[in-house]
């Protein structure tokens, strides 16, 4: 049985539906990210787990206990907020001890736990400081310590890194991952940053407009996106509408150019429209024509981005394609207007579903 079960969660605010039929099962110690753009419903899901929003339908079960109708204070969850939410009137020590005092823990035990938490976040020297005397990164570490000090069943993280600058965000991200692994705590992490989600999570739930688009490991979500939304939101992808030429061999036509997609499509027939995703880094520029899946293209513009050079090209007159070149391939870049030959492996092409919802993750 799963440690956390979210079953058919739905949340509407008046006529507007924020979350539609959201189901998820998480194992003990698992780190799951809810990834999506603003307004996709990810924070609402987190708030329903926390008990700050009552679901319009569905259930929240933690460790076999149905907590759907329990107030937040009775759920034994730890929450870290984007805005830190440290109590300004209390010192670092006071903030970390807050939940322990509320729980009626003995003074000695509180002091011991606070010391342990300060060591965990690497800030033992700041115990007596007030939040206003700390940097953003330090405040968020204290907020994390406060949340895990009460030994919660689940740690909920609502975009905890969003308010921090880039360098601190990366270092805190690593610390967050290390602390979660060390404590073996189940964590649900809300973010709109795909890099954070991919770097931290065991599994990623990609959401859009209140629906779950895809659930999978970071590699699955990146390499085999199921919908055009996932393909374009997680990383960059060329989304190519094609017609089926041969459903058995998986041959499709992109405009007037035929390509081999290496996927049999028994349920489709010749002439059906399908949508394919192709990552920009999966495309190479060949010095010759004639190989399978080699396509003539015209370079529209070239952008040098340091470790990568991004080329925008046009195939067959009007199909726009983006290509990322790395390393040696990026040394001699073609000029805008140059004619080149693009090539990719058939297995790099990913067939995308039409939007499918009600996905359930086991």
């Amino acid at each position: 049985m799963s440690f956390l079960t979210l079953q058919g969660l739905r949340k509407s605010f008046g006529a507007s539906v924020a979350v539609q039929d959201f189901s998820l099962e998480a194992e003990r110690g698992e780190f799951i990210s809810l990834l999506g753009p603003s307004g996709c419903g990810k924070t609402t899901v987190l708030r329903m787990i926390a008990g700050f929003e009552a679901p319009s339908a569905g259930r929240v079960v933690i460790d076999g206990e149905d907590v759907t109708h329990l107030p937040s204070r009775a759920r034994r969850i730890g929450m870290v907020f984007q805005s830190y939410a440290l109590f300004p009137n209390l010192t670092v020590e006071g903030n970390i001890a807050f939940g322990l005092k509320v729980a009626g823990m003995a003074k000695d035990a509180i002091a011991e736990r606070v010391k342990e938490m300060l060591a965990l976040i690497g800030l033992p020297q700041l115990a007596g400081r007030f939040p206003s005397e700390l940097s953003g990164g330090q405040q968020q570490r204290v907020a994390l310590a406060r949340a895990v000090a009460i030994r919660p069943r689940i740690l909920l993280l609502d975009e905890p890194l969003s308010a921090l600058d880039a360098k601190i965000r990366v270092s805190l991200r690593e610390d967050l991952r290390a602390i979660q692994r060390e404590l073996g705590i189940t964590a649900i992490f809300v973010t709109h940053d795909q890099e954070e989600a991919l770097a931290l999570s065991h599994r990623v739930v990609v959401m859009s407009e209140g629906w779950v688009e895809q659930v999978g490991t970071p590699a699955e979500v990146y390499r085999t996106p199921r919908t055009p939304f996932v393909a374009t939101f997680v990383g960059t992808a060329n989304v190519l509408p094609c017609r089926i030429v041969d459903a058995v061999s998986g041959r499709v036509a992109l405009g007037s150019v035929e390509i081999d997609a290496a996927h049999a499509l028994p349920e489709r027939k010749v002439g059906d429209t399908v949508v394919l995703a192709l990552r920009p880094e999966a495309i190479s520029i060949l010095p010759f024509d004639g190989a399978t899946n080699s396509i003539a293209a015209v370079v529209r513009d070239v952008t040098f981005l340091g470790p990568v050079a991004r080329l925008r090209l046009v195939i067959d007159g009007d199909v726009a394609v983006t290509v990322d070149l790395h390393g040696e391939a990026a040394r001699a870049l073609p000029d805008a207007g140059a004619r080149v030959v693009l090539w990719f492996r058939p297995e790099s092409l990913q067939f995308l579903d039409r939007r499918e919802h009600n996905l359930e993750a086991g």
Partner: protein, 258 residues
């Protein structure tokens, strides 16, 4: 000296004269009770008057009661409106401003009709009842000051997130109120409280019409029958108000954790 700076100094000087000249005049007059020499006789008379001590202590007690009732009523109300009914905020603000619009004499006549001898709840028949009525009246008068101070305090903190943070850590609503909300709006609550105390100490209409032995009616009585003592008393009242304002400034300037 630049023209702008000179103008600022002139404006400040005029303002200072406008405020200080009458005060100096009152002080000078209060000190002239003994013929031919300056003395503190008027102040000695005032402080030695039993009625001064009685009425002053009565009004201080009333101010304390008003502040306690006001804070107990208004802090949870302002907090609840912000957290659970933010759309009602402008309506509640409008209601709390009504005592500034409706004259005190209208309110007190309303009270007398509602709680007079012939009413279903004749509070004015007993001293305790009339004291309670006066305290409730003062709470009404203090609504704009306490509510606006508390609301300003709540604006300066992220009430919703701090409440949710405390709840996620297991805190009950009373704990959230006492250990998270109140400590973080302490300066605002104190500002409202001192302002209320200053108003209650000098209030005349309610106390006079409800026939309570308060400081306001005493000042009026003294003013009508004596010459030098009212001048001394008005300086005492000024000093009291300034003292309370200084306390607001002192507490208002102190940040949590500083």
């Amino acid at each position: 000296m630049k023209a702008g700076k000179l103008w600022r100094r002139i404006v400040l000087a005029v303002m200072a004269l406008y405020v200080l000249v009458p005060l100096v005049g009152v002080a000078e007059f209060a000190l002239r009770m003994r013929r031919g020499v300056y003395s503190f006789d008027a102040f000695v008379e005032v402080f030695g008057d039993d009625r001064f001590q009685e009425t002053f202590l009565y009004s201080c007690g009333m101010a304390l009661v008003t502040v306690v009732i006001g804070v107990v009523l208004i802090v949870p109300a302002a907090y609840a409106v912000r957290l659970h009914a933010p759309r009602l905020r402008s309506f509640v603000e409008f209601v709390t401003l009504l005592p500034l619009v409706v004259p005190a004499i209208v309110i007190v006549f309303g009270y007398l009709r509602l709680y007079g001898s012939d009413s279903f709840l004749p509070l004015t028949d007993t001293d305790t009842g009339a004291d309670a009525l006066l305290a409730f009246g003062y709470v009404t008068l203090s609504l704009p000051y306490i509510y606006r101070s508390v609301d300003a305090g709540l604006t300066s903190m992220d009430v919703r997130t701090l409440t949710e943070a405390a709840e996620s850590l297991g805190a009950r609503p009373l704990t959230v109120m006492l250990r998270v909300v109140l400590p973080n709006i302490r300066t605002s609550v104190l500002s409202g409280a001192f302002l209320t105390a200053a108003i209650v100490l000098g209030e005349f209409t309610f106390a006079s019409l409800l026939d309570r032995p308060a400081f306001g009616p005493y000042m009026q009585l003294l003013g009508a029958n004596r010459a030098y003592e009212p001048a001394a008393l008005s300086l005492v009242a000024f000093a009291l108000t300034w003292g309370l304002m200084a306390l607001i400034g002192a507490f208002g300037g102190r940040r949590p954790g500083s």
